[in-house]
Every structure is written in structure tokens, then in C-alpha cells.
């Protein structure tokens, strides 16, 4: 490989004469007469701390999770070295008493809840993005700030707010009781409705911001052209707008779906004890059964990667114009 290939976007000051020479050959980098070897030594000193940190506390722990998923538990978080498929089997439902459907049900529920959250978020975020983008410039900054503030407020506090609003003594629950939607003594939480409400409000800003970024740069002349050619509202949306906002939709979808898959706080506080997601399973095993915990993490990572792959693949299905 030639040295020129190794240059990043930062090394623009490189003269053409540097191509195809060894690391010891003299070169000019941003006005400095030096060698590749010296530049790389300097670079190694600069990135050393950060790269080592990320290796030690991120790459190695993730590798350990992968390895521990195939080990045996020694109780209270400890691990005994071995090679076994038992932990992954337990994730799929095999236990001491034979196979049970509980875990598969939880896995399915996790994917369904995350998917539903994503769809609801996108459905609400899209009109919001168009609304913000069509405001006057000064107003837009204010609205984006209004979105950022709850986004930056700790999730625990926002969930505490929902428990107040949805508890059986609140006026909202009172209204639902009057309408007969829930029993006379019941609250609106814990329950599936509360979980979905909590999930959608948690991730709504994640969906609005990337959508706003594409809607703001939307080329409206294409829409005009479609109208001039007698295209109806549906065909205009499908062929003049959708291809333009697709990157934003995919980004918003990934930003909502991925963290939604790993959510445990919302279901833990707003769902009944039986409404568990993979995140809740993981939380229960922290400090207890480390190999099982690791196997659950592997499953979640696999689900995340599959989800991202599907969203990206769907994005390619929509042709431009």
C-alpha cells in the first residue's frame, strides 16, 4: 500500500512528491519538513491516552461480555471459565424445568414495543418537523430549544411526572374513569398505555431533530414541478417529498428504535411487573448471573444490528423520483 492511500482528510498539505515512499523518507506536512515515521510517532503520543482508554474500558469489556456468554456462573456476579451454550439456550427459554415460552415472549414484546414506539414517534415527528421548518427563522430556534429542554432533562424525572399524571387520583385518570375506559378505582398506570406514552415521549425529540434537518433543506421546486404536472397530493408526497426526506426518516428510525430496544426504565416504572422487556431481564441479572447477563446482552446487540440493517435496506427500496 502506498503512503498516499493512508492519508486522511487532515493531511491535505501533502505534496504529490510524497507518494509511494517509505515511512523514513522526507516529506512536507503543512509546511513542516519531516518524515511519516515522525508524524506517526507524534500522532501516537496524541491519541495514546484516549485510544488506550477506549480499548481498556470499552473494547475489552465488550469482548469480555462476548466471552462470558459462553462461561458458567459461579454465583453473585462471578464467572467460571468454560465453554457452554447453556446461557444462550436459557435466553431462548430452556431452563432446569424444560422449555418455557416466557423469554421468547419477552423478546417478541421488546421488538413489537420498540417498533410501535418508532412508528408512533415518526408519525408525530413528521408533522412537527414540517411545522417547525415553516416557521419564521427566529421562531424556529425557540421551538428547537423547547424540544431540547425536555430532551436534556433526566428521564427519571420525566417518568416521575407521568406517575403523577396517570395515578388513580389524578384528573386524567378521573376523566378516564368517568368515560368508563378504566375501573372506578384504577389509575392509568401501570399498564400498556402508560408504557407506550412514556416510550413515545422519551424518544420524540430523537425523531424530530433529524427529520427537521432534512425537511429544512427540502427542495420545494420539485414539489411545485410535480404539481405543475398535475400530480395529486398522494403522488406528490410519494415521489417529490418522500425520496428527499428518506435519509432523515432512516436516521430518526434508528435513533428511536435502537435505544427503545434497550429501554428498561419506562417499563420498570410505568408497566406492571409482568410487562417485561429484554432491558428488564438484563437489569435483573446485574450482579447475579453474569454469564446469563452476557448472553442477554449479545441477544440485544444482535437484535439492534438486525433492526439497523432492515431500516437501511428499506431505505434503499425507495427510488428517487
Amino acid at each position: 500500500m502506498t503512503e498516499a492511500q493512508g492519508q486522511g482528510p487532515g493531511a491535505q498539505g501533502q505534496g504529490p512528491g510524497a507518494q509511494g515512499q517509505g515511512p523514513g523518507a522526507p516529506t512536507i506536512d503543512a509546511g513542516e519538513l519531516t518524515t511519516f515515521a515522525r508524524l506517526r510517532r507524534r500522532g501516537a503520543v496524541l491519541i495514546g491516552g484516549g485510544a488506550l482508554w477506549l480499548l481498556l474500558f470499552l473494547a475489552v469489556p465488550l469482548a469480555l461480555v462476548f466471552a462470558a456468554a459462553f462461561c458458567e456462573t459461579a454465583g453473585y456476579g462471578a464467572v467460571k471459565l468454560s465453554l457452554t451454550w447453556d446461557n444462550l439456550g436459557r435466553v431462548a427459554g430452556w431452563g432446569v424445568f424444560g422449555w418455557e415460552a416466557d423469554n421468547l415472549r419477552i423478546l417478541l414484546r421488546t421488538v413489537v414495543v420498540a417498533g410501535l414506539t418508532t412508528v408512533l414517534c415518526l408519525a408525530l415527528a413528521l408533522p412537527m418537523a414540517f411545522w417547525i421548518a415553516r416557521q419564521p427563522q427566529s421562531r424556529r430556534g425557540l421551538l428547537l430549544a423547547l424540544l431540547m429542554i425536555p430532551f436534556c432533562t433526566n428521564l427519571v424525572i420525566r417518568i416521575a411526572g407521568w406517575t403523577v399524571l396517570l395515578s388513580n387520583q389524578s384528573w386524567l385518570a378521573g376523566l378516564a374513569q368517568q368515560l368508563g375506559a378504566i375501573g372506578p378505582e384504577d389509575g392509568l398506570y401501570p399498564g400498556t398505555f402508560a408504557v407506550l406514552l412514556g416510550m413515545v415521549t422519551t424518544f420524540l425529540p430523537f425523531a424530530v431533530l433529524p427529520l427537521y434537518a432534512v425537511v429544512e433543506r427540502l427542495d420545494w421546486t420539485l414539489v411545485e414541478a410535480a404539481r405543475d404536472l398535475h400530480s395529486g397530493p398522494w403522488r406528490t408526497a410519494r415521489h417529490a417529498i418522500l425520496p428527499q426526506i428518506m435519509p432523515g426518516l432512516v436516521a430518526a428510525g434508528i435513533l428511536t428504535f435502537v435505544p427503545a430496544l434497550g429501554m428498561f426504565l419506562v417499563t420498570d416504572r410505568l408497566g406492571s411487573g409482568k410487562f417485561m422487556l429484554v432491558g428488564n431481564l438484563i437489569q435483573q441479572q446485574v450482579g447475579r448471573d453474569t454469564p446469563y447477563l452476557s448472553a442477554l446482552c449479545l441477544t440485544l446487540v444482535a437484535a439492534t444490528l438486525i433492526g439497523i440493517a432492515i431500516l437501511r435496506w428499506r431505505a434503499r427500496e425507495v427510488p428517487v423520483a
Binding site: E3, G6, G8, P9, G10, A11, Q12, Q14, D29, A30, R40, G43, L46, I47, G49, G50, A51, L54, F57, A59, P61, L62, L64, V65, A68, V79, P127, M128, W131, R134, L143, A145, M148, I149, P150, F151, C152, N154, V156, R158, I159, A160, G161, W162, V164, S167, Q169, P205, V258, G262, M263, F264, R269, G279, Q283, G287, T290, C297, V301, T304
Partner: protein, 267 residues
């Protein structure tokens, strides 16, 4: 346009009603439940004398402060080394993966991975068992880990933007590497470094799950404390605390926006 406005405002409303509910509940005189029993500021007064809350506040600020400083230094150096070094392609690719890993990893996985790693580290011996016991050190290490890439990515974007002509000029004028970095690059990078530090600080304040998984007795941060108390039933004192944190968040966001606004006006 009318429908859009209604949808837009209701979307924003959905984000604010729970926060408003907490604020209203914090002024409610009733100790139990959410039924309105009159206005009071007693819960705020009681909060001031609460030892556990004071401890958690100190923990939170300590974790956010230390992790921000370390992550800002390491992240900035990482950005400089990545953007200004002609790395061979495989090295650059590896570094790129490493730096994006914390951004794409769901935080529950990152937290669980740290738990597993520290469990393994504790096996090393009795001394390691003390050092790597659940506590503040673990939370700080966890926070630094997910803050580094955000700082590095922001600084790197700025490095690409400012280009290399000023560096060339400095070299032509016989600037040493040290002078180049401290007198030419650092002043130009300062806004990006400040923005990265601010983001790191707010990410640390926003974290619940890493602190929850890795904290020990007496080392809870504020979100973990509120979560723990929530399990024992809602208390008005808790709502007072949450309201204060919300107000602090608003001030932080508005302050950051002002900072950015004045910088944009100056340049």
C-alpha cells in the same frame, strides 16, 4: 397549516405535561397521593436539610466534573492525533470503529459490559477487589468512556473546518510544534472544546443506567436516588428535588444557547 400547528403544539405539550405535573406536585401540601391540599414550599425547605440528597448532589457534580475534565483532555488529543496524522488505512479504520463504538452501543449494553469487566477485574486479587468495588470510581470511568467520542467528534469537525493554511503559515515562520499547538491550533479549537465539554457534562448529568448499574451503597447519583425513592412511592420532597433539577437543566440549555449565539455573533 392549522392542523400542523395543532399537532406541533400537542407534540411539544406531551413533552412538558409530565414536567409541569412534577412542578405542581412539589407545591402540594398533601403528603400522600396527588390530590391538591393547598400551596406550600415546605418540601423545598425540608430538602435543604436532607443529608442523603446533599450527598447525592455532591456525587453527581463530582462525577460530572471529573469525567468532563478527563474526557475533554483525552478527546481533544484524540481528535488532534486522528485528524493531523497520516495513519495507514487499517489503523485509521480501527480508530474510526473504536471512536464510534460508544456512540452506537445502546447504553444498557455499555453499562452491563462495564459491570462484567469490573467483575472480571475483581478476580485479580484482594487489592483489585477493593479498588474495583462498585462505587464512584466505576461511575466516573463509565462516564469518561462514553464522553470521549463526543468531545473527539466535535473537535475533529472543527479541525477539518479550519483547514491547514494557518499551520503552514506558522511553520513557515519557524514555529515549533509546541508553539503551533498552543498558540495557533488551541485558540481556534477553543469554541469546539468548550462545546464538547458542555456536551460531556450534560451527558453525565443525563445518565441514569451506568450509575444505576455500577454505584454502590452511599455513592448514588441524583437520578439513581430519585429512582430508588420512586419505588417506595411518590413523595413531594422528591418532586421538589426533581423540579430543582429541571430548573437547573433549563438554565444549562439556555446558557449554552446564549454562549453559542454570542460566539456566532462575534465571528
Amino acid at each position: 397549516m392549522k392542523t400542523l400547528s395543532v399537532l406541533g403544539w400537542s407534540g411539544i405539550g406531551l413533552l412538558y405535561v409530565p414536567l409541569l405535573a412534577v412542578a405542581v406536585a412539589s407545591f402540594n401540601a398533601g403528603r400522600h397521593g396527588v390530590a391538591w391540599k393547598g400551596f406550600t414550599v415546605d418540601w423545598y425547605v425540608k430538602l435543604l436539610g436532607n443529608q442523603v440528597v446533599a450527598e447525592a448532589t455532591v456525587n453527581t457534580l463530582l462525577v460530572a466534573g471529573i469525567s468532563t475534565i478527563v474526557a475533554t483532555v483525552l478527546g481533544t488529543l484524540l481528535a488532534l492525533g486522528l485528524a493531523r496524522t497520516p495513519w495507514p488505512r487499517p489503523v485509521r479504520g480501527g480508530l474510526d470503529v473504536l471512536i464510534h463504538l460508544p456512540v452506537v452501543t445502546p447504553d444498557i449494553i455499555l453499562a452491563a459490559a462495564l459491570v462484567v469487566a469490573f467483575a472480571v477485574l475483581r478476580l485479580l486479587g484482594p487489592l483489585a477487589e477493593v479498588w474495583f468495588a462498585p462505587g464512584l470510581l466505576q461511575i466516573i470511568i463509565g462516564h469518561i468512556t462514553f464522553e470521549i467520542p463526543f468531545v473527539a467528534l466535535i473537535v475533529m469537525a472543527r479541525l477539518t473546518m479550519i483547514g491547514r493554511s494557518q499551520e503552514e503559515a506558522a511553520r513557515d515562520l519557524y514555529a515549533s510544534t509546541w508553539r503551533l499547538y498552543t498558540r495557533v491550533l488551541l485558540p481556534q479549537l477553543a469554541p469546539a472544546i468548550a462545546a464538547g465539554a458542555l456536551l460531556a457534562f450534560s451527558l453525565s448529568l443525563d445518565d441514569f443506567i451506568i450509575a444505576f448499574f455500577t454505584c454502590g451503597p452511599g455513592t448514588e447519583t441524583l437520578p439513581v436516588l430519585i429512582y430508588g425513592q420512586m419505588a417506595r412511592g411518590v413523595s413531594p420532597e422528591l418532586h421538589a428535588l426533581s423540579t430543582l433539577i429541571f430548573v437547573a437543566t433549563v438554565l444549562l440549555v439556555v446558557g449554552a444557547a446564549r454562549l453559542q449565539g454570542s460566539r456566532a455573533a462575534a465571528s
